[in-house]
Symmetry: C2
Subunit: 171 residues, 2 copies
């Protein structure tokens, strides 16, 4: 949000000719020249600002992509470590893969996309995508009875809704 | 790069008073007023542009983060699928996890960060981080004899260099 590298805006014109005294012709033309200069400088600033921001947008996109991707490298590394130990002990592989899954979920949370997979909660079209309906007298009406695929993120930072099975029984 | 939503820059001032004819006082002051208006408008445009770009940078960052993170969701999903099949057939789990690793590498490539883990290539400080040295008469001098951890991306889009063991034998 800081704009400290941008050129300071020039002062608003204040030196208007005194309205009462008849202004001198030479002063008027000098002021005209100065104003033209100021205006031209503003236009040049505008143009430079546009170009600089286009470059900034481009590099900001690229930086954010690199930051986000770098957060995933430990997931890939640990996946490979787990596979390298595959020959020796299959059950240890399973342990390792579970740890990688937990790490991946943690990476998503760290990037601002917490996982949600709650059952028993009221159906919410903003967080849930219905992939199935059941008629379950033992469950609360219109609640999530099963999560088929977890969701990540919420509100305007939602990556995807949770795919859920909902109890269609109404109250 | 498109700037089509930005206000068109106003025309450069061209209506300078004719240099030969003695300019009329009323014309001069009218032109002064017009120039002041133009300048003020340029300053306001500058200010709006700064504010708009600050917002754009913010939302561009957030969008790019979401795009990049969304690319990883299949990795997490397939990791969980592999784990769900763990009980039935341990060797199938291994198959699944290998497929997930390949998918993760493919996601990185798709984001612009291809994997590299070549051995036998000349040591390149831009792509390699030396984590070990060996003296191997059977290998070419100053080449990579083993990759301990693959690198991703290259040039100014490098996520990390490959961690390598290099043959220190000189020619």
């Amino acid at each position: 949000m800081s704009t400290d590298k941008e050129p300071a805006p020039p002062q608003e014109p204040t030196g208007a000719p005194a309205p009462e005294a008849q202004p001198d012709m030479g002063e008027l033309t000098a002021e005209l020249d100065e104003l033209r200069d100021n205006w031209r400088r503003s236009l040049a600033d505008l143009d430079n600002l546009r170009k600089r921001h286009a470059r900034e947008l481009q590099s900001e996109r690229s930086d954010e992509r690199a930051r986000t991707s770098a957060a995933w490298l430990p997931v890939v590394d640990n996946l490979e470590l787990a596979l390298q130990h595959a020959g020796s002990d299959p059950s240890a592989v399973l342990e390792g893969v579970r740890a990688v899954r937990d790490l991946a979920v943690e990476v998503l949370r760290g990037l601002g996309y917490p996982r949600y997979e709650d059952t028993g909660v009221p159906f919410d079209p903003a967080q849930h995508e219905v992939v199935g309906l059941v008629d379950d007298p033992g469950a609360e009406p219109n609640t999530v009875v099963r999560v088929q695929r977890p969701g990540y993120g919420e509100g305007d930072r939602q990556l995807r809704p949770a795919a859920v099975v909902v109890n269609k029984r109404q109250e």
